[in-house]
C-alpha cells in the first residue's frame, strides 16, 4: 500500500476515520486527561471552583492506610480470581477438547456465564449463597457439613473468597475459549511423537500441552489480571466493599472518595494511581504480544 497521495483519498480517510476519532476523543481520551489533570486540583461537590493544589491530593492519598489496604485487597482479589479462572480454563479446556458426546452443548453452557450481565450474576450468587434462605447453606446444613449457615458475603473471613469464586464462575469461560482454541491448533504429530517415545498421559501434558499453552496462559493472566484489578461492578453489586472493608479494592475505594466524600480531586488522584498501573501492564501487553501486528496479516 502507498501513502494516500491524492487529495481525494485524504478526504476519504478523514471522512471515514473522523466519526470514530471524534467519538473516542470525546468519550475516552478527554475524560482520561481531565481525570489526570483533576488530580492536581482541589475539587469537591461543595466547592465548584478548581484550585490548583499541586501534589496535595497525592500526599493525602498516599498517607492513608485505606489506600494501602485497598491496594492489598486488589492484589489478593486479582491473584485469587485470575488463578481460579486459569484453573477453570484448564479444567474445562482439557476436558472439552476430547471427543465426548454432548460436547457442543457443554461448551455453550460453559461460555454462557461470561456473556451474562454482571447484575444477574451478582444477584443470583447473593441468592444462592444467602445465609437465611440460600440453597447452598440449605444443602450444607442438611448434609451436616456445617452446623450453622455460613454468611458467605457477610463474613469477614469468607467474603473475599466468595467474591473470588463468583468472579471465577463469571470469567472462567474467557480462559476456556482461549485455551480450547489453542489446544485445537497443537499439531497432533507432537503427541504421536511423544507417545512413540513412551510418554504417558501425564508426560504428554507436561512436555507437549503445557509448553504450547504457555503464551496463551500468560495472555489470559495479563488481560484478565488488569481487568480484575480494576473490577468495580460485581464487587459493588454484591458487597459494596464490605463487610467493613473486607472486599474494598482500589476501584471501590476510589468510588467512595468520589461519591461518598464527594472529593473529586482526591478521587482523581486515585484514578491516577489506577491509570499508572494500567499503563505499566499495557506496555508489557503491547511489547510482548504486539496485538497490532497480529491483525494486519491478511487471513
Amino acid at each position: 500500500m502507498s501513502t494516500s497521495d491524492s487529495p481525494r483519498e485524504g478526504g476519504w480517510v478523514a471522512a471515514a476515520i473522523g466519526p470514530a476519532l471524534i467519538l473516542l476523543l470525546l468519550t475516552a481520551y478527554i475524560p482520561i486527561i481531565y481525570a489526570l489533570t483533576l488530580a492536581f486540583y482541589n475539587k469537591t461537590a461543595f466547592n465548584p471552583d478548581m484550585d490548583f493544589v499541586g501534589f496535595k491530593n497525592f500526599v493525602w492519598l498516599l498517607k492513608r492506610d485505606d489506600l494501602w489496604m485497598a491496594l492489598g485487597k486488589s492484589v489478593v482479589f486479582t491473584i485469587g480470581s485470575v488463578g481460579f479462572q486459569l484453573a477453570f480454563g484448564l479444567f474445562f479446556g482439557l476436558l472439552l477438547n476430547e471427543a465426548i458426546r454432548g460436547r457442543a452443548i457443554m461448551r455453550s453452557l460453559v461460555i454462557l456465564p461470561y456473556l451474562l450481565p454482571t447484575i444477574v450474576i451478582g444477584l443470583v450468587f447473593r441468592w444462592i449463597l444467602n445465609p437465611e434462605f440460600g440453597v447452598v447453606n440449605q444443602i450444607l446444613l442438611s448434609m451436616g457439613v456445617v452446623e450453622r449457615p455460613i454468611n458467605f458475603f457477610g463474613g469477614l473471613d469468607v467474603a473475599m473468597t466468595s467474591i473470588i469464586v463468583t468472579t471465577g464462575w463469571q470469567y472462567g469461560s474467557f480462559a476456556v475459549l482461549l485455551i480450547l482454541a489453542r489446544l485445537q491448533s497443537i499439531n497432533p504429530r507432537l503427541y504421536e511423537a511423544a507417545r512413540s517415545c513412551g510418554a504417558g498421559t501425564w508426560r504428554c501434558f507436561v512436555d507437549v500441552t503445557l509448553p504450547n499453552l504457555r503464551t496463551t496462559l500468560l495472555l489470559i493472566a495479563l488481560l484478565r489480571g488488569i481487568w480484575m484489578f480494576n473490577k468495580f461492578d460485581l464487587i459493588w453489586i454484591i458487597t459494596k466493599g464490605g463487610p467493613l472493608q473486607a472486599t474494598e479494592t482500589l476501584p471501590i475505594y476510589v468510588y467512595k472518595i468520589a461519591f461518598q466524600d464527594f472529593n473529586f480531586g482526591r478521587a482523581a488522584a486515585g484514578c491516577f494511581v489506577m491509570f499508572v498501573i494500567l499503563l505499566a501492564v499495557s506496555i508489557i501487553y503491547f511489547k510482548y504480544f504486539n496485538p497490532t501486528k497480529e491483525i494486519e496479516v491478511n487471513r
Binding site: 500500500m1 494516500s4 480517510v13 467519538l23 473516542l24 475524560p31 472439552l96 455453550s108
Partner: protein, 273 residues
C-alpha cells in the same frame, strides 16, 4: 482396555462435577423465578420443584418499575448500536483500504482504549456531563457506552474488511462505479457478518453495563435494567422471587445469543471485560 475405560469414567465424573458448578446457579435462578408465591415464603426449598407458576413474572411487570427500566435499557442500547455500526464500519474501511499517517498509532490507541476500566472513565464523565447537563439523559449514557464498545468494534470491522478481497471492489471500479457506490453495493454486503457481530457486541456491552449507568443516572426514572435491579435488593417490598424473575428476563438476550450462535462463538468470540 480397562485402563482406557477408567480414564473415560474419570473424565465423565469430573466433567459432571464441573457442569453442575456451572449450570446450578442458572437452574436455581429459573426455578426461583417460577416458584409459586405461597411456597416462596416456606423454605426449605426442594431441589427439584414440581409446581411452577408465572406469579412472580406477572407481579414483576405489574407492580414494579421493571418496564420503565426495560424501556431505558432498550433506548440506550439501540443508540449505542447505531453509533457503533456507522463509526466502526467507516473506520474499519479506512484502516483496511488506505495507508495514512498515524494509522498504527490510531490502531494501537484504539486497542489500548479497550483496556480502560469503566470506573476510570465514569468519574470524569460524571463531572463533564454534570456541567453539560447530560447526566440522567439517554445521549450521555449512549456516549459512555460507545466509549467501551467502539474500540473493539473498530477492530472487528477492520478484520472483516481485510477478508473481503480487494479485487471485488476494483472490479466494481472498472465497471464505472464510484468508490462510494462500490463501498455500499459490494463491500458492505460482504462485510455483513462483521457488521452484525459489531451490532451484537455493542448491544451486549450496553445491555450488560452496570458501572456507567450506576454513576451517571441518579434519577430512578432514567435507570437501566442493571441499576434498577440493584435497587430491588434494597426494597423490602420486593422479594427474591421477583428478583430472580427479573434476572431471568435480563438474561434472555444472552441465552438467545449463545444458542443461536453456537458455532460462531466457538470460533472465538470477541474479548470482553
Amino acid at each position: 482396555m480397562t485402563a482406557h475405560f477408567v480414564v473415560r469414567w474419570m473424565r465423565f465424573m469430573w466433567l459432571s462435577v464441573g457442569m453442575i458448578f456451572v449450570v446450578f446457579p442458572l437452574y436455581w435462578m429459573a426455578t426461583t423465578a417460577l416458584t409459586p408465591r405461597a411456597e416462596l415464603f416456606k423454605p426449605p426449598y426442594p431441589l427439584l420443584r414440581t409446581s411452577y407458576s408465572l406469579e412472580n413474572l406477572i407481579e414483576l411487570l405489574s407492580a414494579t418499575q421493571f418496564l420503565t427500566f426495560l424501556k431505558n435499557s432498550l433506548i440506550v442500547a439501540a443508540g449505542s448500536v447505531c453509533i457503533n455500526v456507522v463509526a466502526a464500519t467507516l473506520a474499519g474501511y479506512a484502516l483496511s483500504r488506505f495507508a495514512f499517517r498515524g494509522k498504527n498509532l490510531f490502531a494501537a490507541a484504539t486497542l489500548w482504549t479497550y483496556m480502560f476500566p469503566p470506573i476510570l472513565l465514569a468519574i470524569p464523565l460524571y463531572l463533564m456531563f454534570s456541567t453539560l447537563g447530560m447526566r440522567n439523559s439517554y445521549s450521555g449514557l449512549i456516549l459512555a457506552h460507545v466509549s467501551i464498545s467502539l474500540p473493539l468494534n473498530i477492530w472487528i470491522m477492520w478484520q472483516y474488511f481485510q477478508v473481503v478481497p480487494r479485487s471485488l471492489e476494483e472490479a466494481a471500479w472498472t465497471s464505472g462505479a464510484s468508490r462510494f457506490r462500490a463501498l455500499c453495493e459490494v463491500l458492505l454486503p460482504s462485510a455483513m457478518p462483521g457488521i452484525i457481530s459489531a451490532a451484537i457486541f455493542a448491544f451486549a456491552l450496553s445491555w450488560n453495563d452496570f458501572a456507567f449507568a450506576f454513576i451517571l443516572q441518579t434519577d430512578i426514572g432514567m435507570f437501566t435494567l442493571p441499576v434498577g435491579l440493584a435497587t430491588f435488593v434494597e426494597q423490602s417490598a420486593i422479594h427474591w422471587g421477583l428478583i430472580m424473575a427479573s434476572s431471568l428476563i435480563v438474561s434472555i438476550p444472552t441465552f438467545a445469543l449463545v444458542f443461536l450462535m453456537q458455532r460462531y462463538l466457538m470460533r472465538g468470540f470477541a474479548i470482553g471485560k
